[in-house]
Symmetry: C2
Subunit: 211 residues, 2 copies
DNA sequence: CGCCTGGATGGCACGTTGTGCCATATCCGC
DNA sequence: GCGGATATGGCACAACGTGCCATCCAGGCG
């Protein structure tokens, strides 16, 4: 996996985005989203207010990349996994892996997400971001699942499997965030939720083609 | 079921809320939420801008009662249903009934919801309301299901069943709204989605106590 | 009937959110 | 180095959302 080393401008943009996102997450987790102004985030990230709004549509959106990153890891693990698993097995396995603390995804990231989720309980707009990220991931999940299933599947069936897996992940993260469980407990919880929710779908017995 | 006839003030408040909600829904469905200002809605409903914000926190929130009404009917049918059904059967049945056009819930209401859902595809804030309504209904569903299941159930299991049923309803409505299917098709679609998503849960065989 | 009290409404001012526009600074390709 | 492209900042402005006070009206009481 060679990295083509994007241009300096690109890297700086990515760095600024991360800084803004991190600053927003910490401010939201610490003092709540309601009492954090967009200017607070911009100042904390070292950019102007105008630049902040070039990166994010609303102040709550600033934490979306952090949340979406987790989903992206899930999809990566899903496509990179072994081919001899059933679809639910592959979903369960990749979810577990994506939530297992690792050097590049430390437990601190999960704790930060817990802070965001708890802040979201007191702020509808922040909660909406959480739901939107999951809605997007549900749409991204469908084509990946179609690839995994191989044979032609009823689109509605596909949609239901994606929704089931996605809902499992969401409920697991919400339950974990509301609890005091350590970061290591998240993976198993997600695996269980996804397993139970996908158990009844017709895609259950469909094996992945060895391509 | 006697109606205690609330005071004139109460009835007027309810009427104003309905008018605002209906005006917002029609404007959103007709010209999109983005290009509709809060003042447009207020003027269309015959109230001042200040009064509008006494009824709703944001302009998108104005359509929430319309969407939440459907959920409420679902819960009503669920609690009023016969007692000898399994939990998934009761969920499937009540969902079908709640979506079947009736004199008090005409097909036009479903068409209005379709307009809102289609407008929500182009407006993140409006879509967020749809998701929030479902999030709330997921939380309301859990205690009702606990009542139905009767015996003590693992809270997480309960949460998963509620999430599964709720996700089924959401996917069904989104699929129906995106299609050209007539209002009569919504009920069967929802029944199918809920049946498949709840098929794998452990609550499946739990029967309702005859109280 | 007249008064009076509580709550719904409207008007106004204000802070915040989010965007269009232009000037400036910085990076990338030639 | 030089010129085009692009990120950033500053400014003005429309819309959002709220606090505050004045007004109006329903409903209770003498």
């Amino acid at each position: 996996m060679t990295t083509p080393r994007p241009s300096l401008t690109e890297r700086r943009k990515a760095a600024t985005l991360n800084e803004i996102s991190l600053a927003a997450a910490q401010l939201f987790a610490h003092q709540g989203a309601e009492s954090t102004t967009a200017e607070d985030i911009a100042r904390s990230a070292g950019v102007s207010l105008r630049t902040f709004y070039r990166y994010f549509r609303t102040k709550e959106d600033a934490v979306a990349p952090l949340l979406a990153n987790g989903v992206q890891h899930w999809l990566d693990e899903l496509t990179a996994g072994p081919g001899e698993l059933t679809v639910p097995q592959a979903l369960e396995r990749s979810a577990g892996l994506a939530l297992t603390p690792a050097p590049e995804r430390p437990a601190a990231a999960l704790e930060l997400m817990r802070g965001i989720l708890r802040a979201a309980q007191h702020d509808p707009d922040l909660l909406a971001v959480w739901h939107r990220v999951h809605h997007d991931s549900e749409l991204e999940l469908a084509p990946v699942l179609a690839e995994l299933a191989g044979t032609d599947v009823d689109p509605l069936e596909l949609r239901l499997v994606a929704a089931a897996a996605n809902t499992g992940m969401r409920v697991a993260m919400e339950s974990w965030a509301a609890s005091e469980a350590p970061p290591e407990a998240a993976a198993e919880l997600a695996a269980r939720c996804i397993r139970e929710l996908t158990a009844g779908l017709h895609l259950w017995t469909t094996a992945r083609p060895s391509n």
